[in-house]
Symmetry: C2
DNA sequence: TAGGCTTTTTAACGATCGTTAAAAATTTGA
DNA sequence: TCAAATTTTTAACGATCGTTAAAAAGCCTA
């Protein structure tokens, strides 16, 4: 009680129900929201607490009042967007088991991109920070990013009945995630190549078309479990 | 002549042949080499001139003596690694026209990864800086990165006789490049998932296997030009 | 209303950044 | 060899960074 009260924990008003719900959101949430936006725009080391303070319309030291460090805030943001993603992701599989692979992938991608259009931050945060890590200098939330992929994979394996080998499924899912993350997060780049607007429906349609084009043959393969899809000769 | 001598151009000893070739490389080259290494480890805004100076074993202001700015150095580095890549890339197509798609892709990837093992910088520099750009705050060498992909595509189109539509070919090549860049540049991440060493032959073999698994059906498709690969029903 | 919380603001710290200027060292050419 | 030109080193600038401490303001309760 005497010596170990170093960590400042802001004591929020506990469980008082949001009486009127007056849209004055508490400061902590404003910070999370602003930080999500800033971390979606800049890689971890380039995003600054001062940027976040400005985006949240508060003085920047207030960030350190609610979060002990930039690293802790970053991890809180990742947890936040990841939870948001999981919750949505599980519902995207509803009803797919009654469809053929093509129709199923089609519908899944529709739901996926619908979500991505409203919540692009998760993909950008991951894409912006996935590459950096050399052995040293690892970014704070790195293992959480690993968990993100891992849970995504598990959702897929649980929801879609597959007969392919684990190896084949992993190759498919890693490639699916890689393409999705990049096409969604680096839309500025790909769209500029194609001469489309990055955030537009048209761009998302191109991404969907491309992902179906590339991935559908292998999705069929791992669902049906056929040996190696006629690769013997040719 | 009087007023416009603002740009300091270090006058190198011109065309004197490297008499003994004594491995004391000129400072400018040392800087390019060190900068390549540093920019391959950190995104543009996180890499610093002081890091580069330390890597080159010189005092950091000397960097500004040879390059007017960090941006100019970055562009010089991109040009350097891109040229290195083009030169190698063209030769990877040799003899592929006499092979079937599977054997051709197999050999191409072998050559590709052989190069990547010796010159990983290009892929990491691109991967580290591809995502960042929002509309504003564009990284200096961004259009050069676009050119990088564009030339790579052109090489492919020139070397491989294809019957598919331009749309199909673009979908294939964008996905090929995206997967290659990410698997090669973010090896730390993917390898840690698989429990392999990032730089190892084993990891590169996984990447090759994965890229063949995912891309071979569509490579066959765009080479043979068959309408839509039996997607009608299923 | 007064006193004790919590929250916010202000000011400042040490560190690092890109860049510049000037001094020092080195190399070159006559 | 000596002056001129080139290259390198030293020192410093303004700016931004994460974080901390202390003052100020706001709030609740007694």
């Amino acid at each position: 009680m005497t010596t170990l009260s170093k960590i400042k924990i802001p004591k929020k008003k506990p469980s008082i129900s949001p009486k009127k719900g007056h849209h004055k959101q508490p400061t902590r949430e404003k910070i999370i929201k602003a930080a999500t936006q800033v971390f979606a725009g800049y890689p971890y080391h380039s995003a600054s607490i001062r940027m976040i303070g400005k985006a949240a319309e508060i003085d920047h030291p207030l960030v350190n009042y609610y979060f002990p460090s930039k690293a802790a805030l970053f991890e809180a943001v990742i947890d936040d967007v990841a939870d948001e993603y999981y919750q949505a992701n599980m519902s995207w599989f509803d009803g797919l088991d009654k469809m053929n692979p093509k129709a199923g992938l089609d519908l899944y991608l529709d739901r996926f991109f619908d979500f991505a259009l409203k919540h692009p931050s998760a993909f950008r945060i991951i894409a912006l920070n996935l590459v950096q890590a050399e052995d040293h200098d690892v970014i704070p939330g790195y293992e959480r990013i690993r968990d993100f992929f891992a849970k995504t994979k598990q959702n897929f394996k649980d929801a879609v009945p597959m007969s392919g080998t684990d190896d084949d499924i992993d190759m498919f899912l890693n490639s699916f995630n890689t393409l999705a993350i990049n096409y969604l997060a680096a839309g500025t780049y790909y769209a500029s190549i194609l001469g489309i607007e990055p955030g537009s429906r048209q761009y998302l349609e191109w991404v969907k078309k491309t992902m179906m084009f590339v991935l559908l043959p292998r999705l069929r393969h791992i669902i049906s479990g056929e040996s190696k899809g006629g690769e013997s000769k040719d």
